[in-house]
Amino acid sequence: MAFLALQLLIKRAFLAVPILLCVSALVFLILRLLPADPIAMSVPPGATQADYDMLRISFGLDRSLPEQYLIWLGKLLHGDFGGSIFFRRPVMELISKALPATLELVSFGFMLGVVIGIAGGLGMFMLRGRWGEQVLDGSTTVMMAIPEFLWAILLILFLGVLVPVFPFIGRLAPDLTLPPAATGFLLVDAALSLRFDLLMSVLAHMALPALALAIGIAPLLMRVLRSSLLETIHEDYVTQARLRGTSETRIVIRHAFPNAALPTLSLIGVQGGFMFGGTVLVEMIFAYPGLGNLMIDAVRNHDLPVIQAVALIYCILVLGINAVVDVIYLAVNPRLRLKGRAA
């Protein structure tokens, strides 16, 4: 099993190289084709044409496109994303601050979404034919009909303003100070320094944005899980287990759910990828200092190096999530593990 998983990950890593090259080239090309002028955005009002030209040359924007791309790629291989034109700081530094925040938020939102999705799907299945199913079914429609950024606003309105349960700006209450041991992952930092006030504050700040992201993936999971449960419950092995007098609870937990979860699992992989896309708007709405917010700032200021870097990071994250889901799939489905090794 471990060997197969490793094999799969190595294969995926090899495949990732051409994908990342394509994505980077595409992003690079599109950004250069747009009428975006990062220098014009960052020069002071009184600058002369000479100042402007000097800046252009210093950022290498006067060279040909392929040249620019190769230079950027060459630096990238040494772990250098270049410098931000707008922030006047290395892109790496900006990303290393924003990435942990986004990862933390996405993990939390992802877990929340999967828990809601699975619990809801099982609930809909158990309540099949009763009014409870209708209620849950209706709720999935509402969840899907409203886009996640609108959910973010609605959540702020209801759980932040009307009934102020959760804070909705930033990652942390302003009066709290960060511990010195900084991994950037505030939950980890808080836990390591045994600061429970900090931990609670971080969690409370994540609650609403994570919920907004979770609502983006939960309803589809609920529906897919429900329909595959409805299919598996008519499978011969379920009938046969029932004929052996196996209890209904055990049938659902041991026989129907694991089999029904397989299609849901591959959906989770796809949805996990989408969730990173969802962070862009959600982070902006909650003023959450993550990659999404960084991306918005960069786009607003035509900060090409930052846009390129963040796009690439998103791509790596999506590929990573898919690889992880595939490994899990391998672990829970013996047919894949033992294919071609039939006794």
Partner: protein, 615 residues
């Protein structure tokens, strides 16, 4: 009595009122006895098992009569009482062993779950499982226990399920078509194992099957069901040796024999109506199809009468000594092996390379699906290809059709080499060869009408075809395959299984091919419908001098249809020759074992054979 039914009636509540899908069924099943429920699909034979397990389909319910298990009222007893019995005192052996086991759990996990259920302590479970698997003659129980179901063959899975069914030493085992999905030789072994376990533990066995001949060998008593009614009931020997009811006789006669002179199979008209049609049946439910029915049969529902001790028949007394259903007509097989050669294959083989591993290297041995073989089919010749699953017979069909590229060898059609695939050979193939698929259900596009389906090939094959031409052609084809022209505008879902298979054949005939390739085309059909299709094929041969490559696992059907046959095993031809010669004097040990594994018509001969040296 272990299981006792009295006037049991199961009904479907529909918007058109109540339809009895099982009417007035009574029987007694004593410990250590085997009761066979025999009937075609839709006759209601699975209903009794479903009543026992409270697993009736939606809107079905018991409306009359009683069913008791060892004194417990199965129909009115509490759910808890019944749940306590299931798996412990009553157990079930399923039809499809491969899908009846959870693919995500090992055999040990599933067996262990069952042992938990019947209250066996964890510490004792392993030893018990090993013993139970040894009892069903699985050679390496430890390896089986650590396997997943998909790593085992169908026969092995069925043995595991039988082991699980018998491990609690139940009073009753219900086996619903337990061997239908299995190979002939596996069937013999499974029957043997079940019989022995059942006798050792004095278990009562309810054996549900469509195969009267098999039931006659396995069961002590038999109940023959037609359209939800018991038409005949009695000791297996009496039912098989002296069938009284016209339906039982027809059922027996529709099954081609494995020895003796060949006679044309008498086939009943139409097929048994579906459940929705039951309410339209007045008087004797078999009446509309009965070859000896008269006015009296339409009036009242005939009662079961005892004709000899223990042997009951639901037929009017007047009919009793009437003629048997249609006198057998001697079928002269026009075995002219002198027709011109249509298809000739020499040295034909197919080798599947092993799959590439992640480094792109090929790992492990490949599969020799078909080893080099020769085949020749003449006009008017029917060639039977017999073999068990994995013998390569379906790959052979695909090779002939050009759906697979041969690894070696040559195929020629009408003397022209078609081994190399190009537009010309493809066209020649399409003009000469047609394939009839196994499952008419999935072979017919549900969104097309019969007219469109049977003339489908005209769309691409014959240019500029007018709608009138298509209609006329479709009508001809329906007439030729014995279908009513009313069916032209029906859709597959509105047809019965037999009608679908006829449409399937009609479609293949549209280009007036000279050779048909038929892969297990009757294995999914009921015997009476099977007889109709077999006779249709013989008529086509007589009328059109058509050639046929008939792939089947059923020896009796091959004997009935084919003038020459090929026996395949593991991709290899083990025997090849004129059918009568192979049957009367088989040379290869495998062929002999295959013949021995099929239940003979003669009840006196010992079956299953003590030693089945197959698999």
């Amino acid at each position: 009595m272990v299981l006792q039914a009295r006037n049991l009636t199961v009904s479907l509540q529909s918007k058109d009122g109540r339809i009895d899908v099982l009417r007035d069924v009574s029987f007694d099943l004593a410990p250590g006895k085997v009761l066979g429920l025999v009937g075609e699909s839709g006759a209601g034979k699975s209903m009794i098992g479903r009543v026992v397990s409270r697993n009736l389909p939606k809107n079905f319910s018991v409306t009359h009569g009683s069913l008791t298990f060892a004194g417990h009222d199965v129909i009115h007893g509490s759910d808890a009482m019944l749940a306590g019995l299931l798996g412990d005192r009553i157990s079930f052996v399923p039809q499809e062993p491969l899908t009846a086991l959870n693919p995500l759990m090992t055999i040990a996990q599933q067996f262990g779950e069952h042992l938990d259920r019947i209250g066996i302590r964890r510490a004792h479970q392993h030893a018990q499982m090993v013993k139970a698997l040894e009892d069903v003659r699985l050679l390496d129980p430890k390896r089986v226990l650590s396997s997943y179901p998909f790593q085992l063959s169908g026969g092995m899975c069925q043995r595991v399920l039988i082991a699980m069914a018998f491990v609690s030493q139940p009073a009753l085992v219900v086996a619903d078509e337990p061997t239908t999905a299995l190979d002939v030789s596996t069937q013999a072994t499974i029957v043997q194992i079940m019989r022995r376990l059942q006798q050792d533990h004095d278990t009562a066995l309810l054996f549900i099957t469509h195969d009267l001949r098999l039931a006659a060998h396995v069961c002590d008593d038999i109940l023959v069901l037609y359209a939800g009614e018991v038409v005949e009931r009695g000791p297996a020997r009496a039912i098989s040796g002296d069938p009284q009811h016209p339906y039982t006789r027809a059922l027996q006669a529709a099954n081609p024999s494995l020895d003796g002179p060949l006679t044309r199979l008498p086939s009943l008209p139409d097929n048994m109506p579906g459940i929705a049609g039951f309410s339209a049946l007045k008087g004797c439910r078999f009446g509309p199809r009965c070859p000896v029915a008269d006015q009296a049969c339409v009036g009242a529902v005939p009662q079961l009468r005892e004709t000899s001790p223990g042997h009951w028949v639901r037929c009017s007394p007047a009919c009793q000594h009437g003629k048997p259903v249609a006198a057998p007509v001697i079928e002269h097989r026009a075995d002219d092996l002198s027709g011109e050669v249509i298809l000739q294959a020499s040295g034909l083989s197919k080798y599947f390379e092993p799959p590439r591993n992640w480094l792109g290297r090929r790992e492990g041995p490949g599969l020799h699906a078909v080893r080099p073989m020769d085949l020749c089919v003449r006009a008017g010749e029917f060639v039977g290809i017999v073999g068990e699953s994995g013998s390569g017979k379906s790959t052979l069909a695909r090779l002939l059709m050009g759906l697979e590229t041969p690894t070696t060898g040559q195929i020629s059609l009408d003397g022209r080499d078609i081994s190399v695939s190009n537009p010309q050979t493809k066209q020649l193939r399409l003009d000469t060869l047609q394939m009839v698929f196994q499952d008419p259900q999935s072979a017919l596009n549900p969104r097309r009408s019969v007219e469109e389906l049977v003339t489908q090939v005209m769309e691409s094959h014959i240019k500029a075809v007018t709608p009138e031409a298509r209609r006329i052609r479709a009508q001809d084809l329906l007439r030729e395959t014995g279908l009513s022209p009313e069916l032209l505008h029906r859709y597959p879902s509105q047809l019965s299984g037999g009608q679908k298979q006829r449409v399937n054949i009609a479609r293949a005939l549209c280009v007036t091919p000279r050779l048909l390739i038929a892969d297990e085309i009757v294995s999914g059909l009921d015997v009476s419908v099977q007889a109709q299709i077999l006779n249709l094929l013989l008529d086509l041969k007589a009328r059109r001098q058509i050639g046929l490559v008939f792939i089947s696992h059923d020896l009796s059907v091959v004997r009935y249809l084919c003038s020459s046959m090929i026996v395949m095993r593991h991709g290899k031809v083990v025997e090849q020759g004129p059918t009568e010669q192979v049957f009367s004097n088989p040379q290869h040990a495998y062929t002999k074992a295959l013949f021995a594994a099929a239940p003979p018509a003669d009840l006196e001969s010992l079956w299953p054979p003590e030693q089945t040296s197959l698999s």
